[in-house]
Point group: C2
């Protein structure tokens, strides 16, 4: 089964598509650019959602739900926003179908044309700020801390499951504040929430930084990002948090009376992550035998395979272990299929990225042991049955840590510091990965580098050290290095 | 605050709208027929979702996600379905906007017309069965037990928050089976799941039955429904589960090889409940002072109000109680606002339907008691502080039971058995409510009764007793009574 996957070294893009398909995560649908998220892929997304939702609530946010449709005129209200978002999107123009007089099916009823076209939300700033106008009157109504889990649509030309699809699932936080400082603080807080989630739950190391002006969200004054390195050395923007200033408040006239009874515009943030994270997860950990999942997000953390097939004694032991693991909150599946061979099952669960596989056979049981196989390192060990649940609990933690360390080491190996553009181009071509280099802070050199190399400034790292240097292109002074990479 | 609600006796519809507004559940949006679900309303929906999702998983279902858009041609494939669903819906015809040359904003780009229009899903049978075609080859792929949580759009002319909106949130289960018997069994199982959820979690008694042919879901061979009585005596269809026969399998050519290696069409079910349940909840329990929520769905189960305002001692006691309640899984809010008077807060939490309110004042504390007020009965009692958490835990159970019993008694009082059409009309006009009467089983008399009285057959109850009688209109023989009512 594993043999059916294209190796990464041969064709990285095909390897990714093979994993998405063979692990049963998603597939293309009959609708151009829209995917079907299959049960196993959706279960991973549910785990991501559950953990993030808890973090949002712990930081004081509440969920709400706003309309799918946005009146076309709303998109014209914030000038930068319209440039960035109002172009490639799905437009609803009619509200009725009718039977085709020729009996061939249904056609659009021309008499049911909408007075104003509706846009399927590509993001919800406009409809939400139009709503906030009625919710915010005084400083007592602030801060307003709201999140929405929703589907959005952006008419993408070139799509790839999870990474870029016309319709995708995401969450979008939209908050309103009385002061600039508080709004910036909120945007940074959610940036931290994303980074901590990525590292501690997804086991995916990220670089935290702010975007250059040209890479910012349309309408934002500052965009904070987390950037992860995929196994082909390219960067993936995994989550962004935006300080929106008063742009949307001004566009939708959202004012409040401050505690001195003076009218002011409200300060805003928005922040989001999407099903793209599932793509990031795949490309951070998986190998040529299939998906590799961090235990904290694995729908099945432990699978028990009877060897060579289930019998009463084996199932008794398997059920005993299962009960103990479940009481520790560990998810377990016993594979009771008696038609498939163990070897076939092993390959199947490797493909699905199940972190731990227990093989239980009569010979091992006679010795009081079971075989424990790790998905991450492929190690197998005979482990005594007594207190096996503690062993497994610890092993799940170890696997989680190992995956993070492995990804971190990979990133370190693929990270370079260069000072000249010659060197920059050579490193990018030969080694790829992340490159820290000096930049003069202008859009011109940023654009030139992008044109010549396809690498972009992923972020200005928050932890950048003061270090004098000169821009690789312009030779103008720079006071610290920024992160360049080719990106998804 | 409570005074702002229109009493039920004065204007029932306005009472409903007042509660939706004053309790902060939802509001109309800028998009015709689409509502904004506000945080408190959404928190109730989240509780509904969480409980149902657990029940779906316990019965072997997995979640997945299918596209928002459905190619227009799909809707023509199942003849009954198209009649029922393909008419009033949102139609996407273009995929791009462009700047208006006159600088006035954005307009639809006429060059970006889609080759085939896309319909925003009104329900997902067609896109899902088109997908299942590739998932089902053999009896080993069956049963396929899938659920989706999603938004859907039906272009409704007259809308009311939660009860009928153009866009709403729901879940839709779509299952595939090898045999007719198994599919019917599944449809009945989910009918039972809905009924048990309605009664044990929503505290809303329901009548379980099957729909008459003319009230069935478009494309179904049998529709099972749960019908609840609202406080105006009208029926509300709260959830339906459909046996779809082989209609969709035939329309989308979904066949499987049975265990004798012969090709057969697959048998199908679908089942769903929506944000309409929030409307049902409001109209089952609430009163002229605001929302009343069953404890199992209340976002805040217990609120603690310091009297007259917070001080160190009161907060110490409040925090102690909170810790103990939280360890029992009970949600608690301490209202530490020191600007609002207790009376104002009392009215506010009554409006929000918080099941239990604890008033903590210094005088009471000196006596070792706190004031416990129930939202359902408005009773207040001084309860000793010692083991107050056990008292509250029991009281929440008592309130849950009481709400169910109260609703059940209300339904009993408003339920009539009639034998003549004269009597039927009189009862419907004077008393309203549910009416059990004989029916000859034909669409003709059903239609006639609907025309003359606006009452419809809500269901043929599953527990209908054999009882010979004659149809009120036709005089033809009938072998049991069916349930009539005016309905939402």
């Amino acid at each position: 089964m594993a043999k059916e996957i294209t190796p990464r070294s041969e064709n990285y893009s095909q390897w990714y598509l093979d994993i998405v398909k063979k692990a049963g995560l998603a597939e293309n649908s009959a609708v151009r650019g829209s995917m079907v998220i299959k049960p196993y892929g959706y279960a991973i997304w549910e785990n991501i959602k559950e953990d993030l939702d808890r973090r949002f609530k712990e930081t004081g946010h509440q969920n709400a739900y706003f309309p799918l449709f946005i009146p076309k005129s709303f998109l014209s209200k914030e000038a930068d926003h319209v440039e960035g978002f109002a172009k490639e999107c799905a437009v609803v123009t009619h509200h009725r179908l009718m039977n085709n007089p020729d009996g061939s099916g249904v056609v659009v009823d021309p008499s049911a044309k909408l007075e104003e076209e509706l846009i399927v939300r590509p993001t919800s700033e406009t409809i939400i700020w139009n709503t906030y106008k009625n919710w915010i009157k005084s400083y007592r109504d602030l801060p307003l801390l709201i999140n929405q889990w929703a589907n959005v649509v952006r008419w993408e030309m070139r799509t790839r499951p999870f990474l870029r699809t016309a319709e995708f699932l995401w969450q979008e936080g939209h908050t309103a504040h009385a002061t600039k400082e508080e709004a910036i603080q909120e945007a940074k807080q959610m940036h931290d929430v994303y980074a901590d989630f990525a590292e501690s739950v997804m086991a995916m190391p990220v670089i935290k930084g702010s975007k250059s002006e040209s890479e910012r969200f349309a309408g934002a004054l500052d965009t904070f990002t987390i950037e992860a390195m995929m196994q082909d050395g390219k960067a993936l923007q995994a989550g962004t948090s935006h300080f929106l200033g008063q742009n949307f408040a001004k566009a939708f006239e959202v004012k409040f009376l401050n505690n001195e009874n003076k009218e002011e515009f409200v300060w805003a943030t928005s922040w989001g992550v999407s099903t793209r994270l599932v793509g990031a997860l795949i490309m951070t950990h998986s190998d040529d035998d299939g998906l590799v999942l961090p235990p904290k997000l694995a729908p099945i953390q432990v699978v028990i395979v009877p060897i060579p097939k289930p019998n009463e004694k084996i199932l008794e032991v398997a059920n005993g272990i299962t009960t103990k693991l479940k009481s520790k909150g560990i998810s377990v599946k016993i594979d009771i299929d008696d038609k498939k061979r163990p070897g076939f099952k092993f390959a199947e669960y490797e493909m699905m990225g199940v972190p731990i596989r227990l093989g239980i056979g009569m010979r091992d049981l006679d010795k009081g042991v079971v075989e424990v196989a790790r998905r991450d390192t492929k190690e197998k060990n005979a482990i005594p049955l007594a207190n096996i649940e503690d062993y497994i609990e610890n092993l799940l933690v170890e696997i989680q840590d190992n995956l993070f360390q492995k990804a971190l080491n990979f990133r370190k190996e693929r990270t370079s510091y260069v000072d000249t553009f010659e060197e920059f181009k050579n490193v990018l071509e030969d080694k790829g990965g992340f490159i820290y280099a000096h930049w003069d802070g202008t859009a011109e050199t940023e654009e030139k580098i992008k044109e010549l190399t396809k690498a972009t400034i992923r972020c200005i790292p928050l932890d950048a050290k003061d270090e004098k240097g000169v821009d690789m292109i312009s030779g103008k002074p720079s006071k610290n290095r920024v992160l360049f990479a080719k990106a998804y």
